[in-house]
């Protein structure tokens, strides 16, 4: 018995193995069409396709990790994964804690969505947004009342059941939902431009990896692959580079 315990302790400390050039990419998995879990149970979406392509161009092996949005930055800092690729907009507040690569999606306007028949006044009432997003910050500093939810589809559900008058989120996320709602959900009010483009989040100490990924992003931009991917996942009239 003692030998087993001792052996286990030694094994735990001795396990090193070959460290290949593997990086772990953290994503949320609940934000269609950026990143979601498809019906086969695998991660899928624009960012998964882009991430795999970037890793190929940077000659890295990529492991995908799913992590809830709330703890995505703290878990990056404690080393659970090496980069965040989850539709995270580049903002000054986030720049204070992590570094970003160059953007791989242009700044998306954020739009309000309400139930059919809602007027533009809904944008000043109770507005739902996901916690820790730029949209939540925008609503909090406006005259509207903010209601926060942990995942994006809970914000839509809140509008549907009347808990909130409107939801504020990226237009790219709301577009397919509005189109497929059979007229139940409509865009209300004007779009607002909040935050910068979308980039990959990295630890501040990981400058070498950031340089590699920046080079890969520049490469997919220059040969048009990125624009093709954006058109595939977001439609022909999505903002492009």
């Amino acid at each position: 018995m003692k030998k087993i315990i001792l052996g286990a302790v030694v094994a735990m400390f001795a396990a090193t193995g070959a460290i290949a050039d593997t990086i772990r990419l953290g994503t949320e998995g609940a934000y269609e069409p950026w990143n979601f879990v498809n019906d086969a149970g695998k991660l899928d979406g624009f960012e998964i396709e882009l991430g795999n392509e970037l890793c190929k161009r940077a000659s890295l092996t990529c492991e995908w990790v799913k992590n809830d949005w709330d703890s995505i930055i703290p878990n990056l800092k404690s080393g659970n994964y090496d980069a965040i690729i989850a539709g995270m907009s580049i903002t000054e507040e986030r720049q204070k804690v992590i570094d970003f690569t160059s953007e791989y999606y242009p700044a998306d306007p954020s739009a309000f969505v309400g139930l059919a028949g809602a007027s533009a006044a809904a944008t000043n009432g109770v507005v739902a947004a996901q916690t820790a997003t730029i949209q939540a910050g925008y609503v909090a500093s406006s005259s509207a009342t903010l209601v926060e939810f942990a995942t994006p589809d809970e914000t839509i559900a809140a509008v549907r059941n009347g808990e909130a008058d409107a939801v504020l989120a990226d237009r790219g996320y709301l577009q397919p939902i509005v189109e497929e709602s059979n007229g139940q959900l409509v865009f209300v009010g004007d779009s607002v431009q909040i935050g910068g483009g979308v980039g990959m989040g990295m630890r501040k100490s990981d400058g070498a990896l950031r340089a590699k990924l920046d080079a890969a992003i520049a490469s997919v931009k220059s040969d048009g692959t990125l624009n093709k991917m954006i058109a595939k996942w977001f439609g022909a009239d999505a903002p492009k580079f």
Binding site: A15, R24, E63, W64
Partner: protein
């Protein structure tokens, strides 16, 4: 899974439903029920072990051991569970990586805690960055299991400590009169008789443990609550099986699952109580021996 599910857009009604509940995602959902049951099967004995160690420590003649035992039981019972469930996995993970860092990363200078980042060299990460995702998920599950064992062990320890004190003193004195050592008295007389007093508290603790399994979800483990929320949320046509908000139905299924566990547990503990009541000086034993 079936050949007629190849193109979901062309089917509807019951066939669509059959294909829907047999997608890969739903298979992961069904598997997560197994994950919950495995957690219960492992956490209960682990918590009992921790509790036993705590209760034994409280009975020790050495002051240091006694203080440790009492401190463990009191502190863990007194501090909110959620603080332990969030703290223990993170703290243990960092502790292991720190130890490995000390042993394996001789060339890295500076502290591992830099600003708000925790950095160890690649060789010291546990599990390694190059390990497949399932190793990471297994490791996360094990840390969660340890957190459960630590928290519920304190409650079990308190129950066991009380049960040990409840065994009638004459029994122990008679055993000592026969010439048994302290150790023999404990293992042969105290322990078998303690169970009838411990069981009500332990069965209560088991039910609380069953109720607490969704906390796995907080720790990022893909348990039943995670999949119910994920599958239930309304889906656009980016998915092969778009649907409205069906979370109510999924959570109803979870309700049925947990009620089933409760029902089987109640029956099991009733049988156990009967068995332990034989020959005991309790009211319950009268009903048993008749």
């Amino acid at each position: 899974m079936f050949s007629f599910c190849a193109d979901p857009a062309t089917i509807d009604g019951f066939v669509w439903f059959t294909c829907y509940v047999t997608t890969g995602k739903h298979m992961a959902f069904y598997l997560s029920f197994g994950v919950v049951l495995v957690l219960l099967a492992l956490a209960a004995p682990a918590a009992l072990l921790f509790g036993f160690a705590g209760a034994l420590a409280c009975r020790s003649r050495l002051v240091v051991v006694r203080v440790l035992g009492q401190g463990y039981i009191t502190m863990v019972r007194g501090i909110p569970d959620i603080a332990f469930f969030l703290f223990v996995p993170v703290a243990l993970d960092q502790a292991f990586e720190f130890l490995r860092h000390k042993m394996l990363c001789g060339d890295m200078t500076g502290s591992v805690w830099r600003g708000n980042e925790f950095l160890v060299c690649d060789a010291a990460k546990l599990p390694l960055g190059s390990s497949p995702q399932w190793v990471h998920e297994f490791y996360g599950f094990m840390l969660a299991l340890l957190a459960f064992a630590v928290v519920f062990g304190a409650f079990a320890g308190n129950t066991l400590r009380g049960a040990m004190r409840a065994v009638p003193e004459p029994q122990l004195q008679a055993a000592a009169a026969f010439g048994m050592t302290r150790r023999q008295v404990f293992w042969r007389v105290l322990l078998p008789q303690m169970w009838v007093y411990a069981l009500p508290g332990l069965s209560n603790l088991w039910m609380i443990l069953v109720k607490a399994t969704p906390l796995l979800f907080l720790l990022g483990v893909e348990d039943v609550v995670y999949w119910a929320r994920e599958l239930g949320g309304s889906k656009t046509s980016a998915h092969s099986y778009p649907h409205d908000d069906w979370r109510l139905w999924y959570f109803l299924a979870l309700l049925v699952f947990y009620l089933a566990i409760t029902w089987f547990s109640e029956r099991f503990f009733a049988k156990l109580m009967t068995r332990f009541s034989y020959g005991q000086a309790t009211l319950g034993s009268l009903e048993v021996t008749r």
